[in-house]
Symmetry: C2
Subunit: 427 residues, 2 copies
C-alpha cells in the first residue's frame, strides 16, 4: 500500500475551498475583462537560464529546477512576471500595443511554508505594456480598486509611492550610488521598525544627517493626505519635477472617479525589486494588516531588457490569491462561505429511476444546477445530510406525477407539475 500523502508545503483543495476559490477567480477575471484586459498563458516549465536571468539572488535557491530527459536544464516558474517578460520579448511584434494582459496561474517556490504562504501558490497578474503616462498608471490603480470592490472588500488602503521621486531625493542628498541597498532597507520598514531602519541606513550611508533625512523622507506622509505628502516630497527634493506632476495628475483621476479615499501616499513603499522605475504600490487590508500586502506592483520601463533590445515600458500589479484567501477566511468573508454545489437535489425512491433521470436531464438542460442523489436505498437522513454538506438549498421529490419542492432551511413545501416553475423557484 502506498501512503497517499502530499509534499510539504503543498495542499489538496477540497470542494469547500475550491468552490470559493473558483468564484473569486471568476470575479477577478470578469473585472479584468471589463477593463479590456486579455488572458494569456505561458508554460509551467522553462529553460532555467530564461527564468533565472542574471540570477544570483534568493530566488535561485528556492526554485524547483532539474535536468529533463533530453538533458536540458529546466525550472518551474517562480512567478508570472519573468515568464511575461520572456513572452513580451518573443511576441511583441504580434501583439496589439498597448498590450493589456492578465494571467491567473500557479507558481512554485521551495521556501518554508507559513500562514497563507505555500510552495505552490496562485498569482493573479495584470499588466499594461507600451505606454508610459499617468493614464496608464491610473488604469492599473483603478483596476486594483475594481478588483477588490468586486470581492466586496471595502476596508483597505492602497499605499502608493513613486520610485523615481525616491531616486530624485537620493540624488538631492547625494547617496544615489547606494540606492539599491537603501531602497531594500526602506522596504523593510513595516517589518523591522523605524529605528532599526535608521540604524541600517547609517551603516550604508555612514552619515547621520543623511540617514536621518532618508527617514524623514519615508515618514513624511504620516497623518497627511495624498497631495500634502506630494507637497512635502517636492519640498524635500527642492522643487516640482515631471514625476511629482504625474503623481498629482494620477491623484486628480482618483478624485474624478470618486475613489481617492482608498489611496494613501506612503513614501516608505519602495518594493524591493530593482526593476521598478516609477509608481509603486502595496495593498493592506485594514482588518488584517499583519498578513502583509495582498496586491503589489508598479511601473517598470524596461522589463524585457534581458531578452530583447525593444524597449517595452509597462505598469502592473499582482494579487497573491492564497494570501487573499487566507485573509478572507480569517475575516469570515461571505465569499469563502459560499460553497453551494447545486441549486436543487433530486431525491427518488427505488423504482422512480426513470422519472428522476428524465427530470434531472430536463432541469440541467434548462441551466439549473441539479444534483441527483444516486443511492435511493439510503435512509432519508443520509440523503438530507448530503444536501446539507453541499449547501444545496432545495430538494425535489415526486408525488402523483407532480414535483414537490422543499426549501431545506425553511422546510416550506411547494408542489407543481411544471419544470419551469421549479427553475423559477430555485434560482
Amino acid at each position: 500500500m502506498i501512503d497517499p500523502i502530499v509534499l510539504k508545503g503543498f495542499r489538496d483543495s477540497l470542494p469547500g475551498e475550491e468552490i470559493p476559490k473558483k468564484n473569486i477567480e471568476r470575479k477577478l477575471e470578469e473585472v479584468f475583462e471589463s477593463f479590456g484586459f486579455v488572458p494569456i498563458d505561458t508554460p509551467v516549465l522553462e529553460y532555467e537560464s530564461v527564468l533565472l536571468g542574471k540570477g544570483g539572488g534568493e530566488t535561485d535557491k528556492q526554485i524547483f529546477h532539474f535536468e529533463d530527459n533530453g538533458g536540458r536544464k529546466v525550472a518551474m516558474r517562480f512567478d508570472l512576471t519573468v515568464p511575461f517578460a520572456r513572452f513580451l520579448a518573443l511576441h511583441h511584434a504580434e501583439l496589439p500595443i498597448p498590450f493589456k494582459r492578465y494571467h491567473i496561474a500557479k507558481a512554485w517556490r521551495g521556501e518554508n511554508p507559513q500562514k497563507g504562504r505555500y510552495r505552490e501558490f496562485i498569482q493573479c497578474d495584470f499588466d499594461l505594456v507600451g505606454v508610459d503616462n499617468a493614464e496608464a498608471d491610473f488604469e492599473i490603480l483603478s483596476l486594483m480598486y475594481a478588483s477588490f470592490n468586486a470581492l466586496k472588500i471595502d476596508n483597505l488602503k492602497f499605499h502608493v509611492a513613486n520610485r523615481a521621486l525616491f531616486n530624485e531625493f537620493l540624488e538631492t542628498i547625494e547617496v544615489q550610488d547606494k540606492s539599491i541597498e537603501i531602497l531594500r532597507t526602506v522596504d523593510k520598514l513595516r517589518k523591522i521598525g523605524e529605528e532599526e531602519v535608521r540604524r541600517l541606513l547609517l551603516e550604508i550611508t555612514a552619515d547621520e544627517n543623511k540617514s536621518n533625512k532618508i527617514v524623514s523622507f519615508i515618514t513624511c506622509g504620516e497623518n497627511k493626505d495624498f497631495i500634502s505628502t506630494v507637497d512635502a516630497i517636492v519640498s524635500l527634493i527642492g522643487g516640482e519635477t515631471e514625476n511629482s506632476l504625474r503623481m498629482r495628475k494620477i491623484y486628480s483621476y482618483l478624485k474624478e472617479t470618486g475613489i481617492e479615499k482608498y489611496y494613501v501616499y506612503d513614501p516608505s513603499i519602495t518594493r524591493g525589486l530593482d526593476y521598478y522605475t516609477g509608481i509603486v504600490y502595496e495593498t493592506f487590508l485594514s482588518d488584517y494588516e499583519s498578513i502583509g500586502s495582498v496586491c503589489s506592483g508598479g511601473r517598470y520601463n524596461n522589463l524585457a531588457s534581458l531578452y530583447t533590445k525593444e524597449v517595452l515600458p509597462g505598469v502592473g500589479a499582482s494579487i497573491g490569491l492564497d494570501r487573499l484567501l487566507a485573509a478572507l477566511t480569517e475575516l469570515k468573508s461571505p465569499l469563502v462561505k459560499d460553497t453551494r454545489s447545486a441549486d436543487i437535489l433530486i431525491l427518488y425512491k427505488p423504482q422512480e429511476e426513470d422519472i428522476a433521470i428524465k427530470c434531472a436531464f430536463a432541469l440541467r438542460m434548462k441551466g439549473l444546477k441539479t444534483d441527483l442523489y444516486l443511492l435511493p436505498q439510503k435512509k432519508a437522513k443520509a440523503q438530507y445530510e448530503y444536501a446539507e454538506r453541499l449547501s444545496i438549498p432545495y430538494a425535489l421529490t415526486f408525488k402523483d406525477g407532480n414535483f414537490q419542492i422543499k426549501n431545506l432551511s425553511t422546510r416550506e413545501m411547494e408542489e407543481t407539475s411544471s419544470l419551469d416553475k421549479v427553475v423559477e423557484l430555485c434560482r
Copy 2:
C-alpha cells in the same frame, strides 16, 4: 542577451488562442456544475512513488521527475486520474458520497510532440465516485453529451462498450488468462486495422478459431443499432447477464432523454488501461475522426486500491482540451474565432484625458467590457487597427459633451448623452 525561447513541446498561448480556450473551459465548467459536480484541485508536484504506483510502464519514461532541494523524489503529474485516486484515498472520509468532482488542469508528459499533442496539456476530468449502478453510468454519459452540446458540437458519436461483457466473452471462449494482452491489441483496431489485429490475436491465443471469434465479437456492432449489438453480444456470450442488462437499462435512459442517436455500441472499444471494470467509451468527431477520441473514460471499481483498503467504485471521463481545440480550429468552429477582447474602445484626443477616464471608469463599473486606447497622439488609422486586431465591435468618441458610438463593421453612428444608452447599444 538571453534567447527568449520556450522548451520543445511547450507553447505560449497568445490572446487569440487563450480567449477561446477560456470560453470553452468556462462553458464546460458551467455544464459540469449544472450536473452538481464540484471542483477540486491537487498539487502539480507529488511524490514520484505516489504517481508511479506499481509503475514499470510507458509512463515512467515520459514523466518529468527529479529530486527536490530536500532530497525528495518528486514528479509532475502526468494525468489527473492518479492524483484523484490518491486524493480519494486521503480524503474519502471528509467527502460527501456519492462524490461528483471535476478538475480542469494541466498535466505533463515528455513524449514527442505531434498534432494536438504537447508535453504540457490540459485535461478536463469528471468522475462520480461511490455508486455502481446504471444511473451513475448514465450521469457520466449524459454529462458527456451536455458538454459537447454546450460547445455546439453536434456531429459526433460516443462509442460505448462494456469491459465486463468483453471479459465474460473471453471466459466463454476460455482465453480470460490472456485478457490484458487481448484488450490492448483490440484497442489498436482503429490504428492498425482488422487484419493486423487478427494476426496479433492469433499470436496471443495460438488458436485461429478463437482469434477469429474475438474479431467477430469486436466487429459485431457494425451496421447494427445499439440494442441489436447488445443482442448479438448476448448471443456470443450465450445468455443475458447482469452486465448486458445494465447496458439495456442505460440505453433506455438515453432514449428517454432523447439523446440515443449520439451513442453507438462499439464492442471494439476496450481502453488500454487495466483499471476499467464496466462501461467504457471514446468520442469521435464525425468531421475529423482522424484526430482520435476527444473524450474517453469508463467505470473502474477499485481506482484507489493502491492507496487504501476502502473500496471506491467510480465512473468518469476525460476531455483532452488541446486535442479538442486543435479539432475545433481545423473545423473552423465559431467558438475558436470569438477573440473579442472588449465590447467598446474609447478613443480620445489629447486634452480629453479627464472625460475619457471618467467615462471608461463609469462604463466598467456598469459591467461593460471597456477598453481605453492610451496613445491619443497616434493616428486614427493605428487606433482603428487596434480595435480590429482585438475584434472590438464599437468605438466611442467625444463630441460637444456627448458620446458618439460607432459600429465598426457597419460604420453606423449614434450619438447619446447617456451612459446607460451606451451600455444598451453595445451589449
